[in-house]
Structures are given as structure tokens and as C-alpha cells.
């Protein structure tokens, strides 16, 4: 670990962040903001899907398949593996739909809980078989996170940096900042308290900052 030295791109980004208007959320994003109105609207959709309403099932599939794919891709760095994960999770979602009960938490938290469990099982199976971690190949193929930080934050750069975080730190970054869940939902998905999520969030951002902006010299 090296002493942190701020690089020019970040100094510039400080000014940009001050000038930038608040980010607008994409319209029609069912689970991106698990706030109260969307959660209730989605609960109606889920109830219809539980009654095997084809349109409702398709709406949930179209909303969640890309999110789970992105979640899987950021964690494993492999297109095929991320597609398999998204497909598996969607199947499990449909088969277990009737087990979901609305308890004030978004449906998305329940779906991501399935995804996280699948991911844990997948990693365990791979370890047992002695398979190579897919993200290792990706990391070595790409430049170091510091070198990539010279540019604006890009997905590849974020992915390489995420690889260096602990599993829990990576989960918090992806679930909170990429998938847009609130602390309660993140805690629910990870089976951790909100306090633990806040603490992990701080540590994760600190580690990410060191990885992206520490002086490579």
C-alpha cells in the first residue's frame, strides 16, 4: 500500500462535481430507486405475476434480467457466466414467486438475495473444482486500476478496482451505487445490519479511492 497522492483527474473532477446538477434517474426504472411509491407499484406487479399474469412476468423479467446481468458481470467479469447467472436467477424468481411476501422491502431486494446466494454457491463450486476465478483473467488482461483512473471512471476500470475489494465491500458498492438500493435493502440482501452497511460503505469507498487514485510511482 502506498501513501495516497491525489492525481490531477480527481482534482478536476472535484470542480466538475460541484458544477454538476443532481443526476436524473432514468424514467421507468422499476427497482432503481426502491422508494415508497415505486415499491408499492411493483408490489402490484408482483401480485399479478404470482397469479401467472404473462405481461407482469415479462415486465419483471425485462426489468431484472439486465440488472442481474450487470451485477454478475461486475463480480465475475465474464459475459457467459453473467448471462448464466441472470438466466438462473430469473428461473428461480419465477419458481419461487409465491414465497415472496411484501414486508415493506422492495421485491428487488428479494431478487438480489437470490442472486447473491447463487453467486456464493457458484464461487464455492468453482473453488471445490479448483477452477480459476474468471475475474483473475480479466484483471490481468487489463491495465492497473491506477492507470485506468487517468480517464473518467469507466466500467472496466471500476471492475478491475472492484476485484481488489473484499467480497462484502464489493457487494455494498454494487448494490448501493450501481443497483441503487437503500441501506435497508442492501442489509437485507447481505444479511447485515444497516449499521454494518454504513461501515462497509465507508471502508469500501476508502479502499476504492486508494486503488483508483494512489500514486503508482
Amino acid at each position: 500500500m502506498r501513501a495516497a497522492v491525489w492525481t490531477l483527474p480527481l482534482a478536476k473532477s472535484l470542480d466538475k462535481a460541484r458544477e454538476a446538477p443532481a443526476r436524473e434517474k432514468p424514467a421507468g426504472d422499476i427497482a432503481a430507486r426502491p422508494g415508497a411509491p415505486d415499491v408499492l407499484a411493483e408490489w402490484d406487479l408482483v401480485k399479478r405475476a404470482q397469479a401467472f399474469d404473462a405481461a407482469a412476468i415479462e415486465a419483471l423479467y425485462q426489468a431484472y434480467y439486465p440488472k442481474i446481468y450487470n451485477y454478475g458481470f461486475l463480480q465475475m467479469g465474464d459475459v457467459q457466466a453473467a448471462e448464466d447467472l441472470a438466466s438462473d436467477v430469473m428461473l428461480k424468481m419465477i419458481e419461487s414467486m409465491n414465497k415472496y411476501h411484501f414486508r415493506g422491502l422492495p421485491f428487488g431486494a428479494w431478487v438480489f438475495r437470490i442472486a447473491r446466494n447463487r453467486l456464493i454457491d457458484l464461487h464455492r463450486r468453482r473453488r471445490r473444482r479448483g477452477e480459476v476465478d474468471l475475474s483473475e483473467t480479466l484483471s490481468s488482461a487489463l491495465a492497473s486500476p491506477q492507470a485506468l483512473a487517468e480517464r473518467a471512471l469507466e466500467r472496466g476500470q471500476l471492475q478491475v478496482a472492484l476485484k481488489h475489494l473484499t467480497d462484502e465491500q464489493r457487494q455494498v458498492i454494487v448494490l448501493k451505487f450501481i443497483e441503487g438500493f437503500d441501506n435497508r435493502s442492501v442489509g437485507k440482501i447481505m444479511a447485515r445490519s444497516e449499521g454494518a452497511v454504513k461501515s462497509l460503505q465507508h471502508r469500501a469507498l476508502g479502499s476504492l479511492r486508494r486503488l483508483l487514485y494512489s500514486d503508482p510511482a
Binding site: R2, F52, Y69, R103
Partner: protein, 623 residues
């Protein structure tokens, strides 16, 4: 008592920025934290704006065909009768009941809210625990209940660590609450073997908690030992596979302490191993790697009231590294987000670093070094405090280092070891490093100890790879005074030859001693540190490389020139050494005193550790 952690402030600002508040407004609300907050908030915003990875359309379409087919099959299959309640409807009357309760408590509603931020020493803390219990009454789903219990147990650990950060003792109420929550969660998990994620979460959390509890052990007061032992046992047991619950660790197994023992493992029988001559029981309740005869291992053991040792955890020491780690002691020159600076060197923190109390610039600390993927990091940081004297008649309590030969049988369960003619009390957390040989009669050992009220308490005993006559001993301690021809060093009486020049009071000395009956006679002494000199740093390290006067040790490099005072066997790679030094004008750590402890290498092929990176303190740059 209310506290506001940086974690909460950061979280609040992240949420505020998401709601459209400007960065400057948020920073203005917390000027004291603005410098730390700003880069993290900007990074959070950048991550949020990272474009997502988009799936390829045709695999998504192909998957949809499979899902649609499955949905069609499910629609036509007879559906099982749901066993669970409709919680939405079921919880409605419960919610009404809770609302009624809150109405009944009217005036105390604010109290309940205020209690949520309380720490275990607050009068409101019992309200916090009671509120959590009430919450569990209304959860009827076992798995959900276990999730909440895991969360609550995590909160308890956070509270314990916060108390420790605030230099407060850990009261029994929070330890009891931690135990009960872990036990209940583990019981539920045992009944639901299919809930793998929950089980993983409980086990991972319990592992981190057990590590923290073991590190906290020296700070637990005598009166809180019982709830501490119960909490530690419950936390350890939560990590065991459910089918071994019957053979769980009982708190009695820890009643006489929790110790670190490292050395070469030798099998005695199926469940009994000898480490450095001490017998340790290893069974299915021991968590860690499988050990074999001749392996260098580190145990954390519980000691019961009969003095028997039972391994809680075992880890195999990495080849090429000393098992018990290296230690740096000195004054903090700088505290940064990354770590602390001692003698111009940054010792980085990572997420596992345990900080035993408040650390600030100018404070004297003892840092145990560890290894991580990124190189050397601080494993534990503990403030070094000088206790006040008991009364005017007695010498002030003091810490010292003593070298001598073990006398008598220490294999027998005993709480007192005789070393170099002195009786040392083995405390409940005395660490024993027997990696260089067996802790037995005749072995030369190094003892880190404290003297208070005429009692010598050993904190760590290290077996040395050096032979020496039975009557030879050595002492490193502060010179107190001279009276009637006797010197008091760290409160211990030593007899100097006649007409020996006295050091100044408060001088740190290395004293080479010879035993004559019950007397310890001074053969020679060396001044290590003058009374007013506070800049020296002490390194307890292993030599990994030698290039002339430059020694490479775990902490980086140190120059041991011919002007430095030197004692002990000739330096050799793989031997351990105690070095005092300071950073010179050229930024080089210059030894003023070095003592090599081992005649032969303890670590046969030491791995030169990635040195701690150097920082150049402001105003001291340049060669």
C-alpha cells in the same frame, strides 16, 4: 450518551447528494469532516454514474423463451397449498398493537428513539435492548428472525468496538446480549440447513467477532470475565457445523484465560498435540487448518480451571515468516486515513486492523505488524500507558524485558514460571512463542513483563535459539534509583560492582546480569535511551537480509553502524533482534542499540517482507 460516527455522516451526505443537495452544502454542514468527506462523496457519485454492462440481446431473448415456458408449465401445474401466512394481512393487527403500545408509552416515545444511539454505558441502553426484543416478538418467520438476530449481534460488536475506541471498559450487558443473539441465531440456522446464505453470513460474522473478542481479552476486567467467556464461547460455537453443536466449547474451557501459543506441532495422540512442550487438545471444535507433525502452527487456546489447554483456532504459520509477528513501539508522528507514521514510516491500516483505544499524534503505541496482499500492515495497535504509582512507598509499576533460563517443570498446569531466579505470573492472556524450541527447564527465554505491587506478570514468553549458562540473565528497563548500594531497574533490585557510575534516573538501560544465589549482579550496562529522549523507536523483528551495516527487517531497513551499541550473538539472517533507533537527517532509520536474540536462524529461509512504504514528513524532505 449519543455518538455520531463518520460512517453515519458519510451515509447522510451520500443520501443528501442523491436527493439533489450540492456537495458544498453537505461539506458546510460538517466542516470538521469536510476534507475526508469530499473525495469519498465525489467517488460515490462517479461510481453511481458508471454506465452499466448491457446484456447481449439474443441470450436474453433465448433465456426469456425458457422462462416463459416454465411460467406456462407452472400455471398449469397444481399449486401446493401455501404453508406460510399472508404476512401483509397477518401483520396488520400486530402493527395496530405496536401502534397502541407506542401510544401507551407516549411520553417515552422520544426515549425509545434516543436509546437507539446509546452505548452500553448509557442509562438508555436497556431500552435499546428491550426495543429490539419487542421487535423479535412480532417476527414469526424463523429465518427472518435469525437474520434480525445476526444484525443485532453485529450491532453489539460495533458497540463493543466503539466503547473500546472511546477507552471505556466493555460492560457485561453488551457481552451477554452478544452471546444470546449469537446462540439464538445459531439454533435457528441449525434447524434450517438449506439457508446457506444465512449460514454463511452468521459464520463469517462470528469469525470476525471471535477475532475481535480475542484481541479485546487483555482489556476485559476480572469481574467481566464470566460474561466475556460466555460471549466468546457462543461466538465460537456459532462457527461450528450445526451437527457438532453437542460438542461445542463450554465457557468453563476458557475460565483461566485465552492464550496465543505458537511453535512446532508434535502429535501426542489423536486429540492431543504438543507445541513447544505444552499440550493442547485439538478436536472437532477447533477451527482452522489441518496440522501435521512438524508443522509450525499458531494456536489460540482456552485454558480451563485445571490448567488444561484446548485449541479454539489453529493456523499454519506461513513458511519463511516468524509465527508470532513483529512489533514496532514508538511515538506516533502522524495519523492519516491510511494508517499511522512512526519514525517516518507509514504503517498502513486495513479493514482487519484492530485499534485498542484512541490513537493520536504524540502518543506512544505498540504496533504488531501483519501481512496482507498489499504488503506489511498494522495488525493491532495498542496505546502504551504508564500506570501511576500505587503509593509513595513503592516503585511505580513498570514494563520491562527480561532474559533468563527457565527453572523447574513448566509442563504442569501452573500459573507461575520461575525464570532467571524471578517468579513470573502467567496471566490469562500470556502469549507463548515456542517456535525456536521447547519451553522447558533449561531453555533460555525472553519475557515481556510488567511489575506492579511486587508482582511480575508475563505478557509474552519467547523461547530463544541461544544457549547460555544457567546463571546468565539480562534486563531492559528504566533505571529508577540507587539505594544502599542496590540499583532499582524497572523496580527490580540489581547489584552493581562497587564504584560503578550511576545512570541518570529515567534512563532506559540494557543490563547484562549474572546470578549469585538470589542476587542479580550487574556485569555491564548500556544506556539505550536518555530520560528526555522520546524519539526512539523499538523494533522487535526478524532479520531477513544483511548487507554490511544495513539490516533488512520486517519494518523496512535499519542501519546498524559501528557506532551503535550492540549485544548478543552475531547477527544472522533468520534470527530475531530488538533494535532501538531513530530516523536520521537522510531519512534512514539509524540504530542506537541492537540486541540479537538468537544464535541460529529461527526462520530458516525468511521472506523479505514487502517493506513498509516510506513517507517523507513535511519539512524533512531530501537526502
Amino acid at each position: 450518551m449519543e455518538f455520531r460516527s463518520f460512517n453515519s455522516i458519510l451515509d447522510e451526505c451520500i443520501a443528501a447528494l442523491q436527493q439533489g443537495e450540492s456537495l458544498d452544502d453537505c461539506l458546510a454542514r460538517y466542516p470538521a469532516h469536510a476534507e475526508r468527506l469530499e473525495p469519498l462523496l465525489i467517488l460515490a457519485d462517479k461510481v453511481r454514474n458508471t454506465p452499466p454492462a448491457l446484456p447481449r440481446p439474443w441470450p436474453q431473448a433465448a433465456a426469456w423463451q425458457r422462462i416463459r415456458q416454465r411460467a406456462t408449465d407452472l400455471r398449469t401445474e397444481p399449486q401446493p397449498v401455501p404453508l406460510s401466512f399472508d404476512y401483509g394481512a397477518w401483520l396488520r393487527p400486530v402493527a395496530i398493537t405496536v401502534a397502541l403500545l407506542l401510544a401507551l408509552f407516549g411520553a417515552t416515545g422520544g426515549t425509545v428513539l434516543a436509546a437507539q444511539n446509546s452505548l452500553p454505558d448509557s442509562p438508555l441502553y436497556p431500552v435499546k435492548l428491550a426495543t429490539e426484543d419487542v421487535r423479535l416478538w412480532f417476527v414469526f418467520d424463523d429465518v427472518h428472525k435469525a437474520e434480525i438476530l445476526v444484525d443485532q449481534s453485529n450491532e453489539r460488536m460495533d458497540e463493543i468496538l466503539e466503547m473500546n475506541r472511546q477507552d471505556k471498559s466493555v460492560p457485561s450487558n453488551v457481552l451477554s446480549a452478544l452471546r444470546s443473539r449469537n446462540q439464538r441465531a445459531a439454533d435457528i440456522v441449525a434447524k434450517h440447513p438449506d439457508e446457506t446464505a444465512l449460514q454463511t453470513s452468521l459464520v463469517q460474522q462470528a469469525e470476525a467477532q471471535e477475532t475481535n473478542l480475542i484481541l479485546l481479552y487483555p482489556q476485559v476486567s476480572e469481574s467481566d470475565r464470566a460474561p466475556y467467556n460466555e460471549a466468546l464461547a457462543a461466538t465460537h460455537n456459532a462457527r461450528l457445523p450445526a451437527d457438532q453443536a453437542v460438542a461445542a466449547i463450554h465457557p468453563e474451557e476458557l475460565s483461566d484465560g485465552v492464550q496465543h501459543i505458537s511453535g512446532i506441532a508434535e502429535k501426542v495422540n489423536e486429540n492431543l498435540w504438543s507445541v513447544g512442550g505444552l499440550e493442547v487438545r485439538v478436536d472437532q471444535t477447533t477451527i482452522g487448518q489441518k496440522i501435521e507433525n512438524g508443522t509450525a502452527v499458531s494456536f489460540v487456546v482456552g485454558k480451563n480451571s485445571r490448567g488444561q489447554l484446548r485449541a479454539l483456532t489453529v493456523s499454519i504459520s506461513p513458511a519463511g515468516l516468524p509465527p508470532s509477528g513483529s512489533v514496532v513501539s514508538g511515538q506516533i508522528e502522524q495519523v492519516t486515513d491510511e494508517g499511522i507514521v512512526i519514525a517516518g514510516q507509514l504503517i498502513p491500516f486495513n479493514s482487519q486492523t484492530f485499534v485498542g483505544g484512541r490513537v493520536k499524534k504524540g502518543q506512544k503505541v505498540e504496533v504488531k505488524l501483519g501481512q496482507s496482499d498489499t504488503g506489511v500492515v498494522a495488525s493491532t495497535v495498542r496505546p502504551v500507558t504508564t500506570p501511576a504509582p500505587a503509593n509513595d512507598e513503592q516503585e511505580p509499576p513498570s514494563q520491562f524485558t527480561f532474559e533468563g533460563v527457565i527453572e523447574g517443570d513448566v509442563k504442569k498446569p501452573t500459573n507461575e514460571w520461575k525464570i532467571g531466579g524471578l517468579a513470573f505470573t502467567i496471566t490469562p492472556d500470556t502469549a507463548i512463542d515456542a517456535s525456536a524450541g521447547q519451553a522447558k527447564s533449561g531453555a533460555r527465554v525472553l519475557v515481556e513483563a510488567t511489575r506492579a505491587d511486587e508482582k511480575l506478570s508475563a505478557h509474552k514468553i519467547t523461547v530463544l535459539a541461544s544457549d547460555s549458562p544457567q546463571d546468565s540473565a539480562a534486563l531492559i528497563g528504566v533505571f529508577n534509583r540507587s539505594r544502599g548500594g542496590v540499583w532499582y531497574v524497572a523496580g527490580l533490585q540489581v547489584v552493581p560492582p562497587e564504584r560503578t557510575a550511576e545512570p541518570l534516573e529515567g534512563t532506559l538501560l540494557f543490563v547484562d546480569l549474572a546470578r549469585h544465589g538470589t542476587d542479580l549482579e550487574v556485569k555491564s550496562y548500556t544506556r539505550i535511551q536518555a530520560p528526555d529522549d522520546t524519539n526512539l523507536v523499538r523494533l522487535d523483528v526478524t532479520i531477513t537480509k544483511l548487507e554490511g551495516a544495513i539490516w533488512t527487517v520486517d519494518f523496512g531497513t535499519v542501519r546498524v553502524s559501528s557506532t551503535a551499541d550492540f549485544s548478543g550473538p552475531e547477527e544472522t539472517v533468520g534470527a530475531r533482534a530488538i533494535v532501538w533507533g531513530r530516523r536520521n537527517q537522510n531519512g534512514v532509520l539509524e540504530a542506537t542499540f541492537a540486541r540479537v536474540l538468537d544464535k541460529t536462524a529461527v526462520v530458516p529461509t525468511p521472506t523479505p517482507a514487502a517493506p513498509v512504504p516510506t513517507t517523507i514528513p513535511a519539512g524533512n524532505a531530501g537526502p
